[in-house]
Symmetry: C2
Subunit: 358 residues, 2 copies
């Protein structure tokens, strides 16, 4: 089976076995070792020397944590959105009473640093800017480094969703001045869903001290305090942490730069293979994602039939979300993937396409 | 190793193997079957015909979900607390702006229905009553049936934390008129932590429609809508659901009444064995819990040394929490436990006690 959706991703055998480990006391010494190793490994991929905290939750929970730990109701927030997950980040801020100014791009386009600079200048001041590093719904990667430059010409906090990028695409949280960055275990980390990760820089902690949105489960101050004893405030998803420890060992043994290069290479193979089949990419190629490729469904092809044919052939791809449902399909190529897998995916697509004609 | 803390609990071999299953599309047909079977199994233990929704979170997340889905800031809430987890429930309500009236008991005592009735009458009206079914920190089980009677003499909603009871101790959510009931996978369910469960009765949904506390990740309306398509709003902890499916099959094959009886029997053995060692129980025996026993540390025994000696002997017990730290230790006897295990625990305790003298 080729599970090629943009998460959950396939789990290496060694990681699956690790995840089946027996339970331990989450207030004991074995757990302290576990959370220490996992946290240190994740921090390498975040490229942060600041606090990195773990939450038992889906990535969406980490989006919520980023909001409620730094903002107060009424705070003006610039929500840069290039797709479904950008919308979700904005929607959470709105649910908690932020004054959200949306800045959206057409599906497939990256966020434009100049447009962000203009909006920051003309509609500001803003307390925070929300950005999706890699938009899973359209297969587009934003240029965080460039956007960071314009954000930091103001005092705004920079909150970055790295759920479908970090561990597969380079993130330099500290160098790029990302105050809060978040990710989720079921993406390039090659672990099951259930743990999300949030980094908090010094400016984020300053904001935390003032923030008045209600928080308890997502309270990263409580998480930081528990982590001093190498614990978590509530019972953590121990088996997912076992998996993460094993998968981080695999990723770090391969080497971060090699992991990124493998993702670049596989993504390039998928994109060029898709185009050779006469299909069009949704993403502006200058910003095409190395973890997920969104492909336009030709007008004479039935998308749902195509995905069913592929599934019967052992290849599971994802449909489009929201307004893109039926108009695109998506190939996840993150985590446990190599060149041979891209060939299997493309060969399956070549077989299924002619059979999926309307 | 005898992991005998009140959760996480030991996982049966078949359940561990199931949890190592390969990932699947959480928007596909296999997941639909998975969530359907797990939800139906859990509903049997909740004894509810109403909605039962799953969250990727620790039990504390489910406490928060119970609050934010039914209440508005300023709502008057009676928080019946007999220990740490009752306090936590109250603290979450306070964090979201509820007007919390606490009603506490001495550690080891159950909540008194008459005291609740008096408070409801004299300090009301209340929008909701918060209750812990089984208090993990003191080893006491509240009489939900009796308390339900006095709560339902008013219009208050009845929100019940069943985290360390349900699947081990009987819960009749519908018959007892519990409007919201919640539980967590790492307790008697014999699965790893990461999934929590919340039932919502018709009165809870009425309250939901009016409730104004901010919510997004915990929004049970979104969860209900997703469940119509047998999905979850955010990516769920798939491997924990695999485990739950396997463990529910074990529990249901044993039979609910047999599972409860086994817990009653093991708890009784632990309590009488502890007393035979000359130790005192913290709990009022009329309300002693069948999932966890809190034991008073004799004045001549060093609690920390006792727990370390036991650990070296392969038996992991829990210390006291909060004000009870160092004053009690706790034996978890829920989930995968049988008579032979109780004997191992008691024998280990008999060996360690004389060596742990101050």
């Amino acid at each position: 089976m080729q599970l090629r959706i943009p998460g959950p991703t396939p789990i290496p055998e060694a990681v699956r076995q690790a995840s089946a480990g027996q339970m331990i006391n989450h207030r004991g010494p074995e757990f302290a070792e576990l959370i220490t190793e996992v946290t240190q490994g994740i921090k390498q991929f975040f490229q942060t020397s600041h606090d990195l905290l773990l939450l038992t939750a889906s990535g969406t929970g980490a989006l919520e944590a980023a909001i409620v730990n730094t903002l107060s109701p009424g705070d003006r927030v610039l929500a840069v959105s290039i797709g479904e997950f950008g919308e979700r980040f904005a929607e959470i801020a709105r649910a908690y009473g932020a004054d959200v100014v949306p800045l959206t791009s057409e599906p497939g386009r990256a966020a434009d640093p100049e447009a962000i600079a203009r909006t920051l200048k003309m509609n500001g001041p803003f307390k925070a800017v929300l950005l999706t590093h890699n938009e899973t719904s359209t297969g587009v990667t934003n240029d965080v480094a460039a956007i960071s430059q314009v954000v930091h010409q103001t005092d705004a906090l920079f909150l970055v969703d790295g759920i479908s990028s970090i561990s597969s695409i380079e993130m330099k949280a500290d160098e790029w001045g990302c105050d809060v960055v978040l990710a989720g275990s079921q993406k390039g980390w090659m672990a099951p869903p259930g743990i999300s990760m949030v980094s908090m820089g010094p400016r984020a902690w300053e904001a935390y001290a003032e923030a008045r949105m209600p928080r308890f489960y997502w309270d990263l101050g409580r998480a930081r305090k528990s982590f001093e004893r190498r614990q978590t405030p509530a019972t953590p998803a121990v088996s997912v942490l076992y998996a993460l420890r094993a998968s981080l060992r695999l990723l770090l043994a391969e080497g971060m730069e090699n992991v990124f290069e493998r993702h670049r290479r596989c993504a390039e193979k998928v994109r060029s293979g898709v185009k050779q089949l006469g299909l069009e990419l949704l993403a502006d190629e200058a910003h095409a994602s190395n973890t997920v490729t969104a492909v336009k469904v030709p007008s004479d092809v039935d998308c749902s039939r195509l995905l069913k044919l592929l599934q019967a052939d052992g290849i599971v791809l994802a449909s489009g979300q929201g307004a893109l449902a039926g108009k695109i399909f998506r190939i996840g190529h993150l985590g446990m993937i190599d060149d041979a897998d891209t060939e299997v995916i493309l060969a399956g697509l070549a077989r299924a396409l002619p059979l999926a004609k309307k």
